[in-house]
Symmetry: C2
């Protein structure tokens, strides 16, 4: 209500347009997220200029990013990580190493500064499991071996991606590239990840009786939110990105998320905040930077992003036949919110230029658009060969 | 993440302190809301000065106010309004008229400007049903006649309060006091209320099949949020306060709230946003303005606020015996978020001075603190005389 008019107007206007574009994309069977970003591009300051988000909107978008990653963490059950086995770990490792390597090499070859190259490469590494999971769910093939490997690998992928991002931010924040410093940051990040995955849930477990004795209504949600905000701030304080803290806070509560209904409740908060984040991502994209040279770069980066996941994630499972390898590879292709947020962190640290930011948005869009239809073709046979499941589906209706 | 450091720090710091104070208050069996406000007074710029909320925090607090009133609207079922009958309507009407009259007269007598007097009087009129409902629920006496009258009257009270607030804002916004203008505003406000209560739910009902066909996930929540933001903005645009629009948006969805699980989901959003609102309310309170004269005024205003509800709400039910009248009167005493928001609207319109704002906060605190213990004494007998309920309670445990 402070500075009521323009702020309230933007809240309403952005929310409605983001959701409208999202709805249209859903109807075209495209990911809603891309629609919400496109709304920002089309209506935002570099497009029609109908709305120029104020600082307050960007602040809300920032909270949206924090809660998005908090949700990703909440959905990452350390237990699953242990059960999915080595195959998924190898898939995730190779699927992170190859995009980093290819992305960095290409960006350096195109004479981008090393720090910027590192950020673009980091944005190329993280698979967005949401889009893949949804396609697999729609096809009712989540129980196939390939699908299980993909979903398991995506969990590792998130954790590894966050560790790499922490290291990248650490490298970029420090003056010059000192290998000793880099090693310390890497150890810190891995240690942080391990603590949040294996020790923090125990602390939460021990806190449980006390939490349920608390007089505050919804104590578990309140404490989870407080820890999410606290770790986000702590992450910034020690030179990482806020979202890294939010992600690890989610990990700590992942085990108790079903019992306390945390996921659904944080989800409700997301439903309100996330559109502002995705819209803002689009609003920051200056379409004017796309000259011929950048379009070539964007296409090459997108192709590299697709090939690196196809090969990196496909190779470790080649023994199971090329069809399984193809399924796993394609399933790992879509990049999403994590890549976007990495680009945003770089933009805010003044390391990623407008052009590199545009590359990342373009790459995210292409990978997200390309993968689902191919997945549908590849997994079609599994669908037909599972009459029992189809039967079950019918009786359920 | 924009201007990450101070903003993130404030988010974390304010959330944690508000909730800590809230928890302490709950343990002392006092309303948590007062604790969250006190956190703002103690830690905020006029207190220890540990945190000076930025514009972004005030923006979030503003959204918090909107969602608070949206929830109040969601909980106001027009059906209940019709069923509770005339007694509740009379209780609500007299319970609004008397505080307005007494408050306005006293403020004018103390040489406050008429507009300011009007705002303080308006802040004195609205009962906060949340606190009363909770006490009645704890005592398990919600089924007594007195409790049903109170809960019914509180529903009317909200709607009538919003209409009066709309008129007050209308009066203050227009230049000079024109009676024709005033009449038009009053008719507009009443018409708006009637439409949102009786026509809008039908529109929602007709929209329902379309909503469930929509591809967007959680379409009902998204549409409810969009309409809440839209009506808030529209209310500001036509010269009312944003919260009035939010309240009426809630009314329109009240009927469908249980089916779509709206209340619980907006509640999750509230859990995150409301602490910023209450903290900000406290942070705006300059304790330095409390000189001897203001303390006297604050006590008088508080006494008037209590007496006016006791008498205004007690008289219409005096026929049912003075005990029932006392129960109804005391049950209507606590003022809460609506009064606070009225004061805030006045502060932001530069009509309410720091001293008048302090009066309202003081009055809200006193009425909220005084009523629950008296209610417990008055309703104790009903509790003992309901062995069946107590029995049911035991077996449920």
């Amino acid at each position: 209500m402070h500075t009521a008019d323009p702020f309230l107007f933007q809240l309403f206007f952005i929310f409605v347009w983001a959701k409208l574009f999202g709805e249209v994309f859903e109807r075209l069977r495209l990911p809603a997220v891309l629609g919400e970003i496109l709304a920002g591009v089309v209506i935002g300051p570099y497009g029609a200029g109908l709305v120029v988000p104020t600082d307050a909107i960007y602040a809300i978008a920032g909270i949206g990013a924090i809660f998005l990653l908090f949700t990703v963490g909440l959905e990452t059950q350390p237990k699953d990580l242990i059960s999915v086995g080595r195959t998924s770990l190898y898939v995730a490792l190779a699927g992170i190493a190859l995009p980093l390597l290819l992305g960095y090499t290409y960006m350096i070859a195109r004479h981008h500064p090393p720090h910027e190259a590192l950020f673009v490469a980091a944005a190329m590494m993280a698979t967005s499991v949401g889009i893949t999971a949804r396609v697999l769910g729609d096809l009712q093939v989540t129980q196939t071996r390939a699908a299980r490997i993909v979903l398991g690998a995506a969990v590792f992928d998130d954790v590894l991606g966050m560790i790499v991002l922490a290291v990248v931010v650490g490298i970029v924040s420090s003056t010059g590239l000192e290998w000793a410093q880099l090693l310390i940051t890497a150890i810190e990040a891995v240690g942080f990840a391990l603590i949040m995955m294996f020790y923090a849930p125990r602390v939460v477990r021990r806190m449980e009786p006390g939490m349920e004795r608390m007089s505050t209504r919804d104590a578990p949600l309140i404490i989870a939110l407080a820890i999410c905000l606290g770790l986000s701030y702590a992450a910034v304080k020690i030179g990482m990105a806020a979202i890294i803290g939010a992600f690890f806070a989610g990990l700590a509560f992942a085990e108790y998320s079903p019992r306390w209904n945390l996921r659904e409740r944080v989800f409700s908060i997301n439903e309100f905040l996330a559109p502002f984040f995705f819209f803002s991502m689009g609003a920051r994209l200056n379409m004017g930077v796309f000259d011929r040279r950048l379009v070539v770069s964007a296409i090459v980066i997108s192709v590299l992003a697709i090939l690196s996941k196809l090969i990196g994630c496909g190779l470790p499972v080649l023994r199971a036949g090329w069809k399984t390898a193809a399924k796993v590879g394609v399933g790992m292709v879509p990049r999403g919110e994590v890549g976007l947020i990495v680009a945003l962190v770089g933009l805010q640290m003044n390391i990623v230029s407008e052009t590199a930011y545009a590359l990342v948005i373009f790459m995210t869009g292409i990978t997200t658009l390309v993968a689902p239809p191919i997945m549908k073709v590849l997994f079609r046979k599994d669908m037909v060969s599972q009459p029992a499941l189809l039967e079950r589906r019918k009786t359920a209706m």
